[in-house]
Symmetry: C2
């Protein structure tokens, strides 16, 4: 296997052509590996096989380049037998009650089962609780007739993908790897060393799983803290953005986090609860995670309370007011609205009887979502449209929005991002 | 005033010759200003007037140098009339019930009152709640017959001193300044620009006060989080230090904080509660601060529970065991034991009937403390002494300790700092 990797003869199978799998497939292709991408969604496979990117933040050229060096997308899991390395990058969401939902991993394992063969290495990249690889994947592989560390190798290597981050790439982000056995770890290190500048070995798959959770718990808690502090400094007449920016001038011991309308995306609102769930099995509690979850998920309501205040000052109610949600992706410069708190704000405004619209240069039509349905296309941002709304709620900042024009023409701005001049009467910090 | 500062003719009065005031006095002296240092403690004044440093982390030469350029320490507040700038660096502890204790500030104001004169600027550097300068200092100065912004100037500029930090100095740490009026801010900026590379003006004294609280709240919460996670990963058989170190390889979005036996010193355990207290006046709550306080202050008990476990495995109890607390200063390479969690651990061990001793290269004799009394001198660390203890509890890591010798000779090590090889039976992670 080591030779195959060094000679780039190893065939790489990436399961899950999403935000994690696609950049990883590109990286392996760039290094000269033959990559087969597996996805249960035929549309995703077909788009990519046409050399097109399924994501705004990844260029078509990157996909086309990968195709030209042999990449194939497929939904046919029998082709698993053709790959040397199986890298699983499927979602790990939460069930109701904040329980881990491994159904995508389990579905992947079942689909692959008849096609596993001796000598393969399997790497799980999906975020999950410490113990998953040993408790879920290992017994499955053993049940399929293999011996881990002898004729099948098993590692966990958490993805650290940050969509839209222009400063770091798959290659320059160090990759943590833990193996079930020493031999597993060694092979895992060989594979990832082929595509990243630095591989960070840890003592176990459990440790590697926990590393990723810590990273996202750290973010969730720090965002939760500054969101709570926003609600504390606001009645004191202080601007939390000014405070954070000034604190950020301390050259040690402080890292700035900024408040917002909540947390979104497929990681921060979800991953920490994988630890919470597992901790309960050990009779211990994760109170910071739960507090952060509570505070962050209460933020949309806080934003709407500020909308109510702002409209009230003008003698208006939300009912029958026309409200524009500005920026509905979960973070800047992406097109992903999964778990976006902006959508929660839209839901609340609608519930209060507001006529809610949205504008987002990255989201032309409100997408199909499991929990939300809005029959809307993006409002074009012109002085006329902006001034026609009773209030504009800034939720996510994107490049390519003319904020000065909005500041000039909006009747009322509810600003969750500290983007507008809060000394104006019509700007309400939220 | 501006001219006086630029020509370095302004006389600087520093009130409180402690961890903050002394480095500040040195910095002004280094720039050629005449500095008068005020302190109510005659010993502190006398030590410094002899050209000696009251602190381990500050060299005698720095004090002697300051004396040679005109520094004088005094307890005579009538000399306030001789200074142009009054910089208050006195402690702001907590009363029982976690209420702010401004008695040192109030005592300073009362002592200075007869000697205030027109044209002076007063800068408060002591950490305090947002509003203190306006609510406490301003009325006092006005009551003394001055008009803020006209014949007396008032600013708040939080200290960012980090004793033992060799990477940053008073000069290279940016200094946040807020003024009661525009004119106050302008004068504050002139004064601090004379001694630091970068002054960061903020919109008000309240904002400047909040900046400092945010910095320390951020630390308290992040340390609390990793302390809680230690108690979660420990039963899972994971080493929290390995996890944090691996997560720290992520080049964005993560900052490592390490667990320990609690938090100590004069800032982190105290400052956050100034905001908690003030928040209650506005009917809002600071749940992260309270959770961090609860978890961090429970750490000494956690450490002792690990001592109990470790001794129990050897068939021993704390009662009648000889226990060594290794490192009692509140952090590495300082000699300050104020609020040190190590001392809490010592108290608990004594309460459980243990024969407790300590070793710390920076603390030769257990100092007089308000809440703690141990009639002890530091145990010398030799193979014989180390092996004579039933357990060694590593609490604070200092340079100049031979950890390898301790690892070899200790019977049992309770390691709160991840310093020893935890795969050994005799090392218990705590």
């Amino acid at each position: 296997m080591k030779d195959k990797i060094l000679k780039k003869d190893a065939v790489i199978g990436i399961i899950g052509l999403g935000y994690v799998g696609v950049p990883l497939a590109i990286r392996f292709s760039d290094e000269g590996f033959k990559v087969i991408g597996f996805d249960v969604n035929p549309n995703q496979v077909s788009v990519m096989n046409q050399g097109k990117s399924p994501f705004k933040h990844i260029d078509d050229e990157a996909i086309a380049g990968m195709i030209s060096t042999g990449f194939e997308g497929t939904g046919d899991y029998s082709r698993i037998s053709q790959v040397d390395a199986i890298i699983i990058c499927v979602p790990t969401p939460l069930k109701s009650g904040n329980e881990p939902d491994l159904s995508f991993i389990e579905g992947t394992l079942e689909a692959m089962r008849p096609y596993l063969r001796a000598g393969q290495v399997l790497s799980l990249e999906s975020t999950t609780w410490p113990g998953t690889t040993r408790e879920v994947i290992q017994p499955f592989i053993e049940d399929a007739g293999f011996t881990i560390g002898e004729d099948f190798f098993l590692v966990f290597s958490p993805e650290r993908e940050d969509p839209g981050n222009e400063k770091f790439t798959v290659r320059t982000i160090p990759k943590v790897v833990g193996g079930v056995t020493e031999k597993c770890l060694e092979i895992g290190q060989h594979i990832y060393s082929a595509i990243v500048d630095r591989v960070v070995p840890v003592s176990s798959t459990d440790a590697a799983e926990m590393v990723k959770l810590l990273e996202n718990i750290h973010r969730s808690v720090n965002i939760g803290l500054v969101n709570e502090l926003k609600t504390v400094t606001d009645p004191m007449g202080l601007n939390i953005f000014e405070i954070v920016n000034a604190a950020a001038t301390k050259p040690f011991g402080f890292t700035p986090y900024y408040p917002g309308p909540g947390v979104g995306g497929h990681c921060i609102p979800i991953d920490p609860f994988y630890l919470t769930w597992k901790a309960h099995q050990f009779g211990v509690h994760t109170r910071f995670i739960e507090l952060a979850g509570e505070i962050n998920s209460a933020m949309p309501k806080y934003v709407v309370s500020k909308l109510i205040e702002g409209l009230n000052d003008q003698g208006k109610a939300i009912r029958n007011s026309k409200i524009l949600a500005l920026g509905i992706a979960y973070k800047s410069d992406v097109d992903d609205v999964r778990e976006s708190p902006s959508v929660e704000v839209m839901e609340l405004v609608r519930k209060w009887g507001g006529d809610v619209h949205y504008a987002d240069p990255n989201v032309a039509t409100f997408p199909a979502m499991r929990k939300h349905e809005f029959d809307l296309v993006a409002t074009e941002l012109t002085p006329e449209t902006v001034s026609s709304f009773d209030a504009v709620i800034l939720l996510t900042v994107h490049k390519g929005i003319d904020y000065q024009m909005i500041e000039e023409h909006a009747q009322l701005i509810i600003d969750t991002r500290g983007k507008f001049d809060a000394s104006q009467d019509k700007v309400v910090a939220a």
